[in-house]
């Protein structure tokens, strides 16, 4: 589904990603872990098409198509979804209104008919249950005054509504208590299927107890320095990141 080849990216002339290689197939869950400042969030943003990052080398193929020249909206319409680490507050725009616009623009790009108000509402009701989000929250301004947990649940709710093929969860666990974490993880697990894939970016192993990864990659200093199965996450939790840093130092 997704192939990242030798990806280099920088922001304001500062090189952040220094040659990422990663392949994600349909049905798989990949976890990307790493210490602060290793480039995890940059990778997530670059995949979603954030324009402040400049890709200086490499390619990213989504379903065999190079997406690096595509706008963020075109990537979203192809089925790429980024759950933000810090969801943006947008005063005056309600979640409902925003999602209806988004969903119908995505449908339009696929040659599908726009959902009418009744069917949209029906779909919304169904997906709301998934993340236990309240109707009153959705008629408020997007993320404005939401608690950390509400913001993250709203991200997963949007993901449920847009039904992406590839979901990238950028530190979705940060700022969540254990109950909210379970709700969010449960939502993600329910949405998973053999035709979708998930990339979970996280600092801690905790989330991976609930969203179990098939592969764990360690990102350090702009490169993936170690890959393994879920046991790697436990090892990291136990030993921290220093031994990885030491490993890297040795091989250089």
């Amino acid at each position: 589904m997704l192939q990242i080849k030798n990806l280099h990216a920088s922001i304001e002339d500062k090189q952040i990603l220094k040659g990422i290689n990663l392949e994600v197939k349909a049905g798989e869950v990949h976890a990307i872990m790493g210490p602060n400042g290793s480039g995890k969030s940059t990778l997530a943003s670059v995949l979603a098409g954030k324009e402040s990052y400049e890709v200086t080398e490499g390619e990213v193929l989504f379903e065999e198509k190079d997406i690096l020249d595509l706008s963020p909206e075109d990537r979203a319409r192809l089925g790429i979804f980024l759950a933000f680490q810090y969801p943006i507050e947008i005063p005056g725009v309600t979640t409902t209104n925003f999602l209806k616009t988004a969903l119908n623009q995505v449908r339009e790009s696929r040659g599908e008919k726009a959902l009418d108000a009744v069917n949209f509402l029906k779909m919304m009701k169904e997906k709301m249950k998934l993340v236990e989000i309240d109707q009153s929250l959705l008629s408020r301004s997007l993320n404005e005054g939401f608690s950390g947990g509400e913001k993250k649940r709203n991200e997963i709710f949007q993901m449920a509504m847009l039904e992406p093929k590839l979901s990238i969860l950028d530190e979705t666990d940060s700022g969540l208590d254990i109950d909210a974490l379970k709700i969010v993880a449960n939502g993600v697990n329910t949405l998973k299927s053999s035709s979708t894939a998930t990339i979970v970016v996280t600092h801690y192993q905790r989330l991976l107890d609930y969203i179990v990864p098939d592969f764990v990659h360690v990102l350090y200093n702009g490169r993936i320095v170690k890959s393994g199965d879920k046991s790697l996450a436990f090892e990291l939790e136990e030993k921290g990141y220093d031994w990885i840093k030491a490993d890297v130092a040795e091989t250089v």
Binding site: A48, E51, S71, P72, A76, I88, I90, G92, F98, A102
Partner: protein, 394 residues
């Protein structure tokens, strides 16, 4: 007097009616105070005199008939004013609305009010009795220099909604004046759409005088104009008055819009709230000046003022200046102004959900503008303003 002023005033003098003392007095006073020069603080960013000298064609004398397609298709009274003269035959007036014309009376003493007094063809007065539907004012300004003068009075406990629309021809300069007298417990809601051509110049004076327990709302929406200057003053002359000033300007091209506003609290326990929002694109210029005066008697005053601006282009500019002058000691006052760009992170967020860049920007700007439209009392007008906002932003 500086050169450009005297040329302008000389040009105008030939049109003066020398038999009227009110007009001659205003004219003499204008000679003394002069038109705003480069040094006038309150016209610092709007070189109105030299712009007028260059742009307005004072010799243009064409009368233009009213185009009925400009009418709002809704019940209420529809009053047509052509170059400052009330056109009864074009108007439709419901029972309870009293429209009259009279010889011009003395006005305010700032240069453009003096000009208006000197040259206004007549004073159009509007009063109401009992419950009345909204009053729609249509101003057609087609001659080079027009000076409409309108006076609205709300007697005790009357409620009046007024919607004004101006249709101005290119290369004209309209110097209009509208004043509101609010008696006890009355309410006036005044809304104005300003969508002029890039070659039109407008100076508009809006003045409201409020007595006890009255409420006044002004909603001014500016979408374009070569030069637009609005002088808006609310004078809260008694206790327990409420004055609201809402403004929205969405500008592009070379539009230049200057909102000069002031609220004067003279007595205790009154409230005022001012909210002006701007979106400036291309080479447009916005000026905002907001003054709040709280006089020594005006204890327990609540006065608030906000001016927010979004600049969409590097060539657009905004000059904003809030001013508070407080002589009373037990008051609650605040003012704030902001100017910035569209939030890139917010746009990216919306786009990452499949919304096009254009739509994402329009969504954010529409939401931003919506706050300033919340006091529009007439649904047809609200729709029109929302449509004008969308046209500009999408």
């Amino acid at each position: 007097m500086i050169k450009e002023q005297s040329i302008l005033l000389d040009k105008l003098e030939s049109g003066l009616d020398t038999s009227s003392t009110v007009r001659m007095d205003a004219w003499k006073m204008l000679q003394e105070v002069g038109l705003p020069s480069k040094k006038s603080e309150s016209y610092k960013y709007t070189q109105i005199t030299s712009i007028l000298e260059k742009k307005a064609n004072f010799d243009l004398g064409e009368q233009k008939a009213f185009d009925k397609r400009d009418l709002y298709k809704t019940s209420g009274s529809h009053l047509v004013i052509i170059n400052g003269v009330f056109s009864k035959s074009d108007s439709a007036i419901e029972n309870g609305v009293l429209v009259d014309t009279q010889e011009v009376t003395e006005g305010k003493h700032d240069p453009f009010s003096l000009l208006n007094t000197a040259f206004s063809p007549e004073e159009i007065t509007i009063k109401t009795e009992g419950k009345v539907s909204p009053i729609f004012l249509y101003q057609v300004n087609s001659v080079g220099f027009s000076n409409p003068r309108i006076k609205v009075s709300a007697s005790k406990s009357q409620e009046i909604s007024i919607v004004e629309k101006s249709i101005n021809e290119p290369n004209t300069f309209a110097n209009s004046s509208i004043s509101f007298d609010l008696d006890e417990n009355s309410k006036i809601n005044y809304s104005k759409i300003q969508a002029y051509g890039q070659e039109s110049s407008v100076h508009e004076t809006i003045f409201a005088k409020q007595l006890r327990d009255s409420r006044f709302y002004s909603n001014v929406f500016t979408f374009s104009g070569g030069l637009v200057r609005n002088n808006i003053t609310i004078s809260l002359e008694d206790e327990n008055c409420e004055g609201y000033m809402n403004g929205l300007y969405i500008l592009d091209g070379k539009s230049h819009v200057d909102n000069n506003t002031s609220v004067d609290h003279l007595k205790p326990n009154s409230y005022s709230n001012e909210l002006y929002k701007g979106i400036l694109d291309e080479k447009s210029t916005g000026v905002f000046n907001g003054k709040i005066y709280v006089r020594p008697d005006a204890q327990k005053t609540n006065a608030f003022q906000t001016n927010n601006n979004i600049l969409l282009s590097d060539d657009a500019s905004i000059h904003t200046k809030p001013q508070l002058e407080i002589w009373a000691d037990d008051v609650k006052c605040s003012h704030g102004c902001t100017s910035g760009q569209l939030d890139e992170d917010a746009i990216f967020y919306l786009r990452s959900r499949g919304i096009s860049e254009k739509n994402a920007k329009a969504m954010i700007l529409n939401a931003y503008a919506a706050e300033a439209t919340s006091h529009i009392p007439v649904p047809e007008l609200k729709e029109e303003v929302e449509q004008l906002i969308s046209n500009k932003l999408i």
